[in-house]
């Protein structure tokens, strides 16, 4: 028992590190795989000299290159998470070494304090726009600082020369995080040196002025195409350019500030606060911080969309549906994903109104200029056979990423479509890029075998099918005539059942019952004699409006649907609307239709109100 106690006492730090590493792994490698895959899908790391040169040609480029190198492993999130674990562990360890050095205290409570910046980083990385370059540059800044302040030399001139060289080099390598390193060096000198205040102050002033001047000169000569936001707050720490936002995301400065605050706190109180209780309190405090970071870091809806995106990428249709059954973001892109999953499983016409719907935008969205929203529509286009539209969306999504790092995922899709369309020269250009990646390379080599081989392409399960599905004639894409395009797509290839489902769904979502009921009887044979639930509901409603009985109805409507409709009519009369009806009835086409009518009535009221005001 005593031996065990001794072991724990001796190895407490190591044990906590192990617990910490495991927790970080579980967080990223188990709970947040989708977030890692999300980061990976917006870059394409190439193993070639040109790519390296391109990266290190901008300030912060070394950190960017390392970050991108790590992110490529997020293609397999379980493995990629190991890199993050290493990053978090190294960050904590570097913080610990710094705290120990600056405070001169290696107590357990000081050790625990070294976890605080890592906890804050966990919280900060919940924002999907925070780029991995930020923690990588933080880690490099700490490592260089440690090396510098631990470097013992009597040669003052040499020390100054190294510092003078180090500042611009570090800035070029990691960006403005260099200022953190400079600040720590200044603090360390101020706190540890026995020189007088004037001397210390003069030295600090020199360091600060020199650092600012160095950055200014670098920006003047080498960063002419970057604005001051980029110069002082980093080009690639945050995905959305600050120059465009005209503001600086708080994480850019709070992360180094947290670290500095911990340093200062430990320096001021490290020696005074000692003892078992302080250690216990620190353990609890750090645990609470990590818990809070985990709870508060992610926006629920954003995280859900990222999860959906990951499942979509893997074509896990059942999981998309089951996840949406539990919680679905009320958002068109989410509706597109769920509807696509339902269609792929042949359930669209039976279950679509059990999920969130928002008109035809829930089938195919108009393009939105961001890198996330239209991923699902791009996939829907591809699965349907709108190959040119899938190409357009894949291309434009990739172009929405701000930093021009392209995307392995979308480049792959672009190649697929060029192959389907027989544009082999352009396909080869992209294939040759994919061949220089780690995880898309084997796919690219395989795809290369198809170039120019019509027979092989026609036999490919996906590409051959797409060649049959795609439009034979050219016309302009028009989102306002989605139903007509879907109808044409279906007529183009009557084996494309998904196009038929989407065509009928578009009419239902538009509320165009006249057209829907006009087409449905003629399509009965194409539906293989099975009339899905929502089709029956829509037809029953249309028929019921103009007939007193269902005798002679041209499509088979089950007695259950007739009964349900009667129940729905009674319930809505009783409750004064569909919202009071039971869950089953709320998931019917009738409820959707009623809701749509209410909304359009409200819109008309709003418009007439507005026009009244105008007059």
């Amino acid at each position: 028992m005593i031996a065990l106690k001794l072991f724990f006492k001796k190895n407490a730090g190591l044990l906590i590190t192990v617990v910490y590493a495991v927790a970080i792994y579980i967080w990223w490698g188990v709970c947040h795989q989708a977030d890692l895959a999300f980061q990976e899908q917006y870059q394409m790391f190439l193993f070639n000299g040109g790519y390296f040169i391109e990266r290190v040609s901008v300030a912060g480029g070394v950190a960017d290159y390392i970050a991108e190198f790590i992110i490529q492993f997020f293609y397999y999130p379980r493995w990629g998470a190991l890199f993050l674990v290493a990053l978090y562990v190294l960050l904590q360890h570097a913080t610990w070494l710094l705290l120990r050095r600056i405070s001169g205290n290696d107590g357990f409570h000081v050790y625990m304090a070294s976890y605080i910046p890592a906890a804050y980083l966990l919280y900060a990385m919940g924002d999907v726009s925070v780029m991995l370059s930020l923690p990588v540059s933080l880690l490099i800044a700490l490592a260089v600082t440690l090396l510098y302040i631990r470097w013992q030399t009597e040669k003052m001139l040499l020390r100054i020369a190294v510092f003078v060289l180090l500042v611009p080099l570090l800035y070029w390598g990691i960006g403005p995080m260099m200022f953190l390193a400079v600040t720590i060096v200044v603090c360390e000198r101020m706190l540890s040196s026995s020189e007088g205040m004037v001397c210390k102050g003069a030295r600090a002033l020199f360091i600060v002025i020199y650092s600012l001047l160095a950055v200014f000169c670098i920006s003047y000569f080498f960063m002419k195409q970057y604005v001051w936001y980029d110069v002082w707050f980093g080009i690639n720490y945050y995905r959305v350019p600050m120059a465009m936002m005209q503001s600086v995301p708080s994480v850019i400065y709070t992360l180094p500030l947290v670290l500095l605050a911990v340093l200062l706190f430990v320096h001021l109180f490290g020696r005074r606060l000692n003892g078992v209780w302080t250690s216990v309190i620190m353990v609890v405090a750090v645990a609470v911080m990590f818990s809070l970071a985990a709870i508060k870091s992610y926006d629920k809806d954003e995280h859900e969309l990222v999860e959906q995106n990951y499942l979509l990428r893997q074509e896990k249709w059942d999981e998309i549906i089951s996840r949406a059954e539990k919680y679905q973001v009320h958002d068109a892109s989410s509706a597109v994903t769920v509807n696509l999953a339902l269609a792929k499983k042949g359930l669209l016409a039976d279950r679509m109104f059990s999920f969130y719907q928002c008109g035809t935008d829930g089938l195919i969205m108009p393009f939105v200029r961001d890198y996330m929203t239209c991923v699902s529509t791009s996939e829907a286009f591809y699965q349907l056979g709108f190959v040119n539209s899938a190409l357009r969306f894949s291309f434009d999504i990739q172009e929405c990423t701000f930093n021009n790092r392209k995307s392995g995922r979308f480049t792959k899709r672009i190649v697929e479509i060029y192959i389907v369309n027989g544009r082999y020269d352009v396909a080869r250009k992209h294939i040759d890029r994919l061949k220089q990646t780690l995880f898309y390379s084997s796919w690219a080599k395989e795809a290369e075998m198809f170039l120019g081989n019509e027979q092989k392409i026609n036999l490919h399960p996906k590409w051959g099918a797409l060649r049959k599905k795609r439009f034979k004639s050219d016309f302009f894409y028009n989102i306002n005539e989605l139903d007509k395009m879907l109808g044409l797509l279906y007529m183009n290839n009557r084996d494309n059942r998904m196009a038929l489902d989407y065509f009928l769904a578009s009419l239902l979502l538009k509320g165009d019952l006249q057209q829907f009921c006009g087409y449905l009887p003629g399509l009965a044979s194409d539906l293989n004699g099975y009339l899905a639930r929502h089709y029956q509901e829509a037809f029953a409603m249309f028929w019921g409006n103009s007939h007193s009985s269902f005798d002679g109805v041209p499509v088979p409507i089950s007695g259950q649907v007739v009964q349900d409709m009667q129940r729905f009519v009674q319930a809505t009369a009783q409750h004064g609307g569909y919202s009071g009806t039971d869950a089953y009835l709320q998931h019917t086409y009738w409820a959707y239709y009623m809701k749509m009518m209410e909304q359009s009535a409200n819109n008309v009221d709003a418009e007439s109100g507005a026009s009244t005001l105008k007059h």
Partner: protein
């Protein structure tokens, strides 16, 4: 900075092959090289015409260049990479003569020598500093990286004039200089802080040139040789996307008119002959004497329904630069509609002899039309000829003249049907185009194969373009704009 880093790495990575041809087998065929520089005409002092072996199996290439008027060059390595100074010397020495290339390629350890090929060194100089162009991914609606660049055509140096990193969120049009003079140029920015920049002698004026009397912001423009006026089309530009697998995009106008901006009075000069909803006017250019404005005009159609009916004719109207007024009649110079064709991108040569234009089947955006070819109108005889040597089965467009009007640059999609690359050719004394050559790069195959950009609206520039991109950011985001009025 990028160039600096590249040089360091190039230096570190010099591990190219270097073996001397021996036991050479002669083959009666032309070498398969990239780019196809066989038989092209080049100006003296152009950047080295480096080339690669198109066959990836070639391990080493050995090239000997012999000038008809003397001099020789030798290179040996992964690709033909000539020293800049040596290349300049041999081309200067052989002005009006020819360079003969003897090419040997090594495959599987064995050398093969091909038939010699020639490049012709023109008597006409190309003394302009370089080219300006926009680089943009050949896409649809969104562009992550876009910029206007300048390239020194006597070596391989390229540098940005302005990239969108400096004006995030704004789409930018191409840099348009006054007859290759970099002191006077304009470009437009689109987006939240959209505007038109006119720079004259280092002074920036950021215009909001939209008025109640004009239908849109200025688009396609051209300088008056005096530097006092800029003519612009004001277009309601739209694009539609094809669902099939042949073409990608069709760009068209739903309305367009022409205006002239007097940059001294900040007034727009309008003419009822150039306005109106019954026709689409676009691509205005001034003649080198500044007394005529050429433009393209089509009857107005219901767009996009009748997108393939719009056929643009080339017309002209007189312009009095002293008074700043248009003449009172429009003449048709080329009736393309009659030929069931469409004329776009008129570009008069600065010596006043020719007017080069694009001829396509319909519409006003030939970049996406594979059938678009270059034609040239002889302004002295009014006869048009097709520049057959310069054309390809793919689109040629965006042509512009060198300052001495003996050379022109065009963007062509001949490489792979999608990426527009720059080709330079000369016009001989009889008005015939020589075979164009692809803009040289140090390692052309690597460069062009890895590039994901199309080149837009290339133009020659007499000297280096000086522009402060960061200052431009401050000015763009300040939203301080010079407004314009209509001249009565």
């Amino acid at each position: 900075m990028k160039n600096f880093v590249t040089c360091i790495f190039a230096f570190l990575l010099v591990v190219a092959c270097s073996s001397t041809p021996k036991d050479v087998m002669l083959v009666d065929a032309m070498p398969d090289i990239y780019p196809d520089y066989i038989g092209v005409t080049i100006p003296a002092g152009i950047a080295p015409m480096n080339f690669n072996c198109a066959d990836a199996d070639v391990e080493c290439v050995d090239v000997v260049v012999t000038g008809s008027k003397g001099g020789s060059l030798h290179t040996n390595g992964d690709y033909a990479d000539f020293d800049v100074d040596d290349w300049h010397a041999i081309t200067e020495q052989n002005k009006g003569g020819e360079l003969t290339f003897t090419v040997c390629m090594k495959r599987n350890g064995r050398w093969t020598q091909y038939n010699d090929f020639k490049m012709f060194v023109s008597n006409y100089p190309l003394d302009d500093y370089g080219l300006t162009y926009r680089k943009i991914a050949p896409g649809y609606e969104v562009y992550c990286k876009i910029g206007n660049y300048q390239r020194n055509i006597h070596n391989f140096d390229e540098e940005p004039i302005i990239e969108n990193t400096a004006v995030q969120g704004q789409c930018m049009s191409c840099h348009t200089a006054n007859q290759t003079n970099p002191d006077q140029f304009f470009f437009h920015l689109r987006g939240k802080h959209g505007c038109t920049l006119i720079q004259r002698g280092g002074k920036h004026v950021w215009y909001n040139a939209k008025t109640d009397s004009t239908i849109a912001n200025p688009s396609y423009g051209y300088w008056h040789p005096s530097g006092r006026y800029c003519c612009f089309s004001v277009n309601k530009i739209h694009q539609c996307f094809f669902t099939g697998n042949k073409a990608m995009i069709e760009v068209f106008d739903t309305a367009s008119d022409l205006v002239v901006l007097d940059v001294e009075t900040n007034q727009l000069i309008l003419s009822p002959l150039l306005q109106g909803s019954e026709s689409f006017e676009t691509y205005p250019v001034f003649s080198p004497d500044g007394r005529t404005m050429y433009f393209c005009v089509s009857k107005a159609y219901d767009m996009p329904r009748e997108y393939d009916k719009a056929k643009y004719n080339l017309c002209k109207i007189s312009f009095d630069p002293e008074k700043g007024v248009f003449g009172n009649k429009v003449d048709t110079v080329i009736n393309a509609e009659k030929m069931n064709k469409s004329v776009t991108f008129p570009r008069p040569s600065y010596d006043g002899k020719y007017l080069m234009y694009c001829l396509s089947d319909f519409g006003n955006f030939p970049i996406n039309h594979a059938e678009a070819d270059l034609w040239m109108l002889d302004l002295r005889t009014n006869g048009s000829i097709e520049l057959k040597n310069a054309n390809s089965p793919q689109s040629e467009s965006y042509h512009n003249w060198s300052s001495n009007s003996h050379w022109f640059v065009t963007a062509s999609r001949r490489e792979d049907t999608l990426y527009g690359l720059l080709y330079i050719a000369s016009i001989d004394d009889n008005g015939n185009a020589t075979k164009p050559f692809l803009l040289p790069q140090r390692n052309p195959q690597k460069f062009y194969h890895e590039s994901l950009f199309s080149y837009n609206v290339p133009d020659f520039t007499k000297s280096h373009v000086d522009f402060d991109a960061r200052k431009a950011y401050d000015e763009v985001y300040s939203d301080k704009r010079q407004r314009v009025t209509i001249k009565n």
